[in-house]
């Protein structure tokens, strides 16, 4: 039989101490920095991710950041759980400024309300905004890529203005196209593979978050910052044609 557990979940005793190290089976662990989605917590996740990469910890096979934790996969034949935790702890030095990194800034061109199905009018109506106000607010915000996931190459972004938060659609669509610029709840993303989705479609971009024909198939990385730029149908068609020819239609700048 197992050891008896505490009768109450740890939460009931009050604040949890972070960061904490939790085994995820015998070949991975999670370093958790908090229980909420916050830019400061996410910065700690990315700082550890970079520190682990820089330290080249032997036995670590891959790492994957998410909102508030870092998944560290390792080979237990090379390093035990205990030894890995001991190796990771000194890497947890909190950076004075969250960005010793140089985040990349993307400007993503978006044709709002076109060319295929969109929810701009419906979402604007439910939020008590005009379609133009909705577009201005979505395109006026600064977004941070918290992590790339949920689908290959898909940037899960925070930064959506509170006035645009809206729960998912009750009925997911069976398939929405690549390049759909979507929101749900407090999150925003760009669809990277054709997929079923209950997210709200505000527009479409010619850029491809995932292109397996490229040496680096993934456009976005955790920590990148993103803005959306409204474009006309003419520019959309032009950029789409260029993207179809394999041209790069958008490049990142170094953020200020």
């Amino acid at each position: 039989m197992s050891e008896p557990k505490d009768c109450l979940p740890s939460h009931a005793y009050g604040a949890q101490t972070y960061p904490r190290f939790m085994p995820v089976g015998d070949a991975a662990l999670t370093v958790e920095f908090g229980d909420v989605i916050l830019a400061g917590i996410h910065a700690e996740v990315l700082a550890l991710d970079m520190a682990v990469a820089a330290a080249e910890v032997s036995g670590v096979t891959e790492t994957a950041p998410s909102y508030r934790s870092l998944l560290v996969c390792y080979e237990p034949a090379e390093i035990s759980f205990g030894a890995l935790v001991a190796r990771l702890r000194p890497l947890l030095t909190r950076p004075a400024q969250p960005a010793q990194r140089s985040p990349r800034q993307w400007t993503v061109p978006v044709l709002y309300g076109e060319p295929s199905v969109t929810d701009v009018d419906e979402v604007a109506g439910r939020l008590g905004l005009s379609p133009a106000e909705l577009v201005a607010m979505h395109a006026g915000a600064d977004y941070v890529v918290y992590f790339v996931g949920a689908a290959p190459g898909m940037p899960m972004m925070g930064g959506l203005p509170t006035a645009l938060h809206l729960p998912r659609r009750p009925q997911p669509r069976p398939r929405i196209p690549v390049g759909s610029v979507v929101t749900a709840g407090s999150q925003a993303t760009v669809i990277s593979i054709p997929m079923p989705s209950g997210w709200h479609i505000l527009g479409h971009t010619p850029i491809r978050p995932l292109d397996l024909s490229l040496p680096d198939p993934f456009l976005f990385r955790s920590g990148d910052t993103v803005r959306f730029r409204p474009i006309t149908r003419v520019e959309y068609d032009d950029l789409t044609a260029r993207a179809d020819r394999g041209e790069t239609v958008v490049l990142p700048e170094a953020a200020p």
Binding site: M1, S2, E3, P4, K5, D6, C7, L8, P9, S10, H11, A12, M22, P23, V24, G25, D26, A27, A28, L29, T30, E32, D35, V36, I37, T61, E62, T63, A64, P65, S66, Y67, R68, S69, L70, L71, C73, P76, A77, S80, F81, G82, F147, V148, G149, A150, A151, P152, G153, M154, S192, I193, M195, L212, P217, F218, S222
Partner: protein, 330 residues
């Protein structure tokens, strides 16, 4: 197609190309994929002289009917007690056999397993995407255009001729009926102590809802103490997540990182293949082990897989052709 290939004449509905998996891309939202039963894939590969993690065909319950369009090809079928038919001959699994041009291969009749493997000597000649041949159906990556094998598909072979040397056999793995071992967490603190006790003592049944993404289990409801929404975080195959209905789902090879339900425990690597091979209706028990024991079990599993090469036994070819070994499904 004109190159040497295995033609899918009437493949079963769920055949994909899988190999040792796609490591290193979780940070970009790419699942690790790979064979559901890595040991069985490794066995099939060893039988035909391939590296253990080479790409092979993975099927569920039966592989269907295939035909060789190449001079010859050595193959091996593993995973369970499947019936392997080459033309008119019926052979047991867990051994290699050489097909001649135009011969048909049919694999069915497995009663003790879910996933089976067909390895071909020299390997499948498909490009690797992100370092692997493994098919991820949901994102359309790897394998044959990221999808299941369909009737009429040609699976390209790296070799036009079977290699020389005797055929090989391996003993089928011993059945282990003991409880599946788990390491608690990472979110066991989302559950009441009673729920964890129930999880570690009650029987759970494999439901009919099983696939490469996850296995739904039927059993007592596991009550959450802190609600069932966690902020999505990293998952690995073997994580046992419990959604709002309190019914556990074991995440399998194609699971999508990250995941948003509390994970009560994670299956040890050494028992992953055993769960994967558990058919709907199988009754399971879980037993908690500490991280040190789980890692010891994993080292033993790695050692056992490395030792498999030493268990290969040659088969006398003349005997094989005069007295084909008959096997009927039990």
């Amino acid at each position: 197609m004109t190159g040497p290939h295995l033609l899918a004449v009437a493949p079963s509905p769920f055949v994909t190309v899988q190999d040792g998996g796609r490591q290193g891309w979780q940070r970009f939202g790419v699942s690790s994929c790979g064979a559901m039963d890595m040991r069985a894939l490794a066995a099939a590969n060893l039988l035909v002289g391939n590296p253990p993690g080479a790409g092979g065909l993975e099927f569920a319950y039966a592989a269907g009917e295939w035909r060789l369009n190449a001079a010859s090809c050595r193959i091996a079928v593993t995973g369970g007690g499947f019936r392997v038919r080459i033309g008119e001959r019926t052979l047991p699994p867990w051994r290699s056999v050489t097909l001649r041009r135009g011969e048909s291969l049919q694999v069915d009749g497995g009663v003790d397993a879910v996933w089976g493997y067909v390895a071909v000597a020299g390997g499948i000649d498909l490009p690797r995407q992100l370092g692997s041949m493994s098919t991820h159906l949901r994102s359309g990556i790897g394998g044959l255009q990221g999808r299941t094998v369909q009737a009429g598909d040609a699976v390209p072979l790296a070799l036009a001729d079977a290699p020389g040397g005797p055929e090989q056999a391996l003993p089928p793995p011993e059945k282990d009926a003991g409880p599946l071992r788990v390491v608690l967490g990472p979110q066991d603190d989302y559950f009441w102590a009673e729920a964890i006790e129930t999880f570690l003592s009650a029987p759970f049944t494999v439901s009919p809802q099983i696939d490469r993404l996850g296995y739904r289990l039927v059993g007592p409801t596991l009550d959450h103490a802190k609600g069932f929404n966690v902020i999505s975080d990293g998952v690995v195959p073997g994580c046992i997540q419990v959604p709002g209905d309190g019914k556990p789902i074991v995440l399998m090879r194609d699971c999508q990182p990250p995941g948003g339900y509390p994970k009560i425990a994670t299956l040890v690597s050494a028992d992953f293949g055993r769960l994967a091979q558990s058919r709907p209706g199988t009754i399971l028990h879980f037993r908690q082990v500490g991280i040190a024991e789980a890692q010891l079990l994993r080292r033993r599993m790695v050692a056992a897989m490395a030792a498999m090469r030493g268990e290969l036994a040659m088969i006398n070819n003349s005997v094989r052709f005069r007295r084909p070994v008959e096997q009927t499904p039990r």
